[in-house]
């Protein structure tokens, strides 16, 4: 029933009115009038009665007579407002027409509105509906505000306001206070907020703020701050100007948001994108960016840029022997040391380089990791190449101290290649390639040094590159061959074995081992080469045994890394089985230096090899600076006296002393001794006299292709025609040893 024709769709169908009046006549009439107009009316003749009614059933609106005996309307209204749940219940205070004081008191008591008593009921009706509607709107607003507050709370967001011409008019919402780690009752003025900001950032912010206000522009920035409990937060601030009716700026309103997590995530992403996860140094991407900026800046400033490519020597060996964890540890320490060699800056400056002044390129200086064991030092401004060389020296110096990883001290050296912009390249790629050429030059000249790029180096590098790729194909093209140098027992004047030596038949050229073995070791090709050599030696042993009854062993030289392979024994087993020769037809030679370097890793292999009958010979014996005591513990069968001692025999007394000592030691340990590099009859004579009758050298034969060796045996040894045979025959009995 809508007798007044009011649009009531947004209101309860029968709004509930609590009508309070001590005057029975008015109570009756007003009640009747309101019921007539679609209200549900509860009458209360006094304030206390009204308050009691409230708790029974809450009305939508209260109509309250101001003047009543005992509890009057004002007191009733105050009590009502103090009751939880009725803080915003609409209350209409009825007053007399001429009663201004009552009107004011009504508002003070918390009345929503006042109404001058009038028998014109439609006026009261209209006023009540207006009150209900605005109350509904207000309720919705409050709910929306509460929702907003909750949402802001969840988003760690709040708002603030600043009125330009009002002192102390900077206010922050309760949610905003929480962003700053404060409770809703706390006061937080602008100065207190600024005190939480580190002074550098504060200066920047205040300058920005002055600028924004001066231009009436929008403020958008992030503010780092330290909360009272010490937490570091980043608060995002956005504010826009508010205008008064005259179009002037009256102040700013804005929002705050705690974006610490987002910023941390962004920082982390940036860190991952631009920095090496292992060493924390700038990564390849960041280095490229920095080098390009440095080149740009150098082009404008007309100065030079230095790029140092730093490659660790033999890092792979460390990685392979100590494991990747130790390798990583080592890289971290190397990174730390390298960082100290330059004015390293970790800052990422994406696009902010401009405007920092013309010295800003200095901030690009850094050491970065390209990957693996390759590092780069960028010197954004060098006076000349000597500047870069000085840094390279610092780098080499920094690595001189051993690095303790994997439970042991490691000595690491590096090869440093230097390229200078603009002389050695115009782009990052050019500079990197040319520093790489220079670095490889250092490697080939013995490592642990630095070199500046020159075009000649490039030619050399190119040659090497060709050699490397040709070597890769040499095996499959059957260009690698074995030559054999006989081992001779001069007492019996007969061959007692042979040492297999690798040769590379490259077209018409026979490439000597010194020219390709180091390269093969560097590139890892030495492994397939050695494996092939083992197989080929086994095949040759079989062939010779068929051709002339060969029953001794062929010695194959192996690098230590092959001894570290757990499948070495199995591989040898397969080689000898394939040709039906006994295990002892293969002998393995390892140089003393190689052996000592990797002793712990090599020993297990030596034992297993010894068990299956493969003898081990120590090559270049006497050149290692190690204690000889380890020999007693090793399952070896033979030592080979290094050719340098043999060469000086009969020339310097020291060499015969060394040879004598080696022979005595070997005899004490039950080892065979064989002398290498015997070229003269005199050397043979001395060796023989000192007690060494096994020899190898040009005096007897150089290394020969297998068929030539067979011919040499047939033409020289068997007919006993060579000069050394007659000489040996006439030599003294070997009885002395280990004495001067």
């Amino acid at each position: 029933m809508l007798p007044t024709g009011q649009a009531l769709d947004d209101l309860p169908s029968r709004p509930r009115v609590l009508l309070v009046d001590d005057d029975e006549v008015n109570l009756l009439l007003t009640g009747a009038a309101l019921r007539e107009r679609g209200f549900e009316v509860t009458e209360a003749p006094s304030g206390s009665e009204a308050l009691a009614q409230l708790s029974v059933r809450a009305p939508d609106v209260v109509v309250l007579d101001a003047l009543m005996p005992e509890l009057d309307g004002f007191e009733t209204c105050s009590l009502l407002r103090a009751t939880p749940g009725f803080e915003s219940l609409p209350v209409l205070m009825l007053t007399g027409l001429d009663d201004e004081a009552s009107i004011n008191r009504a508002y003070q008591a918390g009345a929503t509105d006042f109404f001058v008593k009038s028998p014109q009921w439609s006026l009261l009706d209209g006023r009540l509906r207006y009150l209900l509607r605005s109350s509904r709107t207000r309720h919705e607003l409050e709910r929306s505000k509460a929702k907003l507050a909750r949402a802001q709370d969840l988003a760690r967001m709040g708002s603030f306001e600043w009125k330009r011409d009002l002192a102390g008019s900077f206010t922050i919402s309760a949610e905003g206070l929480r962003v700053f780690g404060r409770g809703p009752q706390d006061r937080l003025d602008f100065i207190s907020v600024m005190r939480m900001v580190p002074s550098d950032d504060r200066h920047v912010f205040l300058r920005l703020l002055r600028d924004v206000i001066a231009h009436t522009s929008v403020l958008i920035t992030d503010l780092p701050l330290t909360l009272p409990d010490g937490r570091q937060r980043v608060v995002h601030v956005e504010a826009e100007p508010e205008f008064n009716e005259q179009g002037g700026v009256s102040g700013y309103t804005g929002i705050l948001q705690d974006v610490t997590d987002r910023r941390q995530a962004e920082d982390r992403i940036r860190q991952l994108a631009h920095f090496d996860a292992l060493t924390g140094l700038p990564n390849r991407r960041q280095l490229i960016w920095r080098v390009e900026r440095a080149i740009e800046s150098a082009r404008r400033g007309g100065h030079e840029v230095g790029l140092l490519l730093i490659d660790l020597d033999r890092f792979k060996v460390i990685n392979d022997t100590l494991g990747h964890a130790a390798g990583d540890e080592l890289l971290i320490e190397v990174g730390r040391r390298l960082r100290s060699c330059v004015r390293h800056s970790d800052q990422i400056m994406e696009g902010v380089l401009e405007g920092l002044g013309n010295r800003s390129h200095r901030g690009l200086e850094a050491v970065g990791r390209l990957g693996g064991d390759e590092f780069v030092a960028l010197l954004p401004e060098v006076a000349d190449e000597r500047d870069a060389e000085r840094v390279a020296d610092r780098v080499l110096d920094a690595l001189r101290e051993p690095i303790f990883v994997g439970g042991q001290e490691c000595f690491v050296t590096a090869s440093v290649g230097i390229a200078i912009y603009p002389r050695d390249g115009q782009t990052m790629a050019d500079l990197l390639r040319n520093s790489d050429v220079a670095m490889y030059a250092v490697k080939s000249q013995g490592r642990n040094a630095s070199a500046i790029y020159s075009p000649q180096l490039a030619g050399h590098g190119k040659q090497k590159l060709e050699l490397e790729s040709a070597l890769h194909k040499a095996l499959e093209r059957n260009e690698i061959v074995l030559h054999y140098q006989p081992k001779i027992d001069v007492r019996a004047a007969r061959m007692v074995g042979a040492e297999a030596l690798m040769r590379w038949q490259r077209g018409n050229v026979l490439v000597p081992p010194a020219d390709f073995i180091p390269l093969a070791e560097e590139t890892g090709l030495i492994v397939p080469l050695s494996e092939w050599a083992l197989k080929e030696a086994a095949r040759q042993a079989k062939l010779w045994s068929l051709q002339f009854g060969f029953s001794d062993s062929i010695a194959v030289n192996l690098p230590s890394r092959l001894f570290e392979r757990t499948d070495l024994v199995e591989h040898i087993h397969q080689c000898v089985s394939a040709y039906g020769v006994p295990h002892r037809s293969i002998q393995l030679e390892i140089t003393e230096n190689n052996l000592m370097k990797d002793l712990q890793n090599v020993i297990p292999s030596l034992h297993r090899l010894n068990e299956v009958g493969v003898e081990i010979s120590i090559d270049d014996f006497g050149t290692g600076y190690s204690s000889l005591a380890y020999l007693t513990t090793l399952p070896i069968s033979e030592v080979k006296i290094d050719r340098t001692f043999v060469r000086d025999l009969g020339i310097t007394p020291q060499s015969s002393a060394v040879v004598t000592a080696i022979i005595a030691l070997a005899r004490a340990l039950g080892l065979r001794v064989i002398a290498e590099g015997v070229e003269t009859l005199r050397q043979m004579e001395v060796l023989h006299r000192l007690g060494c009758s096994l020899m190898q050298g040009f005096l007897f034969s150089k290394a020969l292709p297998p068929d030539e060796l067979e011919r040499w045996l047939a033409l020289t040894v068997l007919p006993r025609k060579a000069p050394w045979i007659t000489q040996a025959d006439g030599g003294p009995e070997v009885t002395r040893g280990g004495q001067r």
Partner: protein, 122 residues
């Protein structure tokens, strides 16, 4: 302040509005209002009499009684009574007692006339 006819005592417009609230008379509103006015007077008038008994007039009681009667008489269309009550209320609120007793006496007379007029209405 002379006595007038009952018809003149009650504002016909006010009476019309009263009747409008209960057009069919089914709710007996008019009767109930007149009865309420009567019972209200029965409560108020003894209060007023007591207020006049003391050495000085109790202005608080006078003010309350006049205020209540001012609005209820207006609701019933007794505009003259309502106006007099308003005057008395103002005097009482301002603490002025000269002529107040005379006004109160006149008010009591007015009340008797209004009661008669209302009775005639039913």
């Amino acid at each position: 302040m002379t006595a007038s006819s009952p018809a003149a005592l009650l504002d016909p417009e006010a009476i019309r509005r009263l009747r409008e609230l209960d057009p069919s008379g089914g709710n007996k509103l008019l009767e109930r209002v007149v009865a309420a006015f009567g019972s209200s007077l029965e409560r108020l008038l003894p209060d007023l009499a007591r207020a006049r008994e003391g050495e000085t007039l109790d202005l608080t009681v006078v003010r309350h009684v006049s205020h209540t009667l001012k609005s209820s008489s207006a609701s019933l269309g007794a505009m003259a009574l309502s106006a007099r009550c308003g005057e008395i209320e103002t005097l009482a609120r301002e603490g002025r007692s000269e002529g107040l007793l005379e006004q109160l006496d006149a008010m009591l007379q007015d009340i008797q006339q209004v009661r008669a007029a209302l009775a005639a209405l039913l």
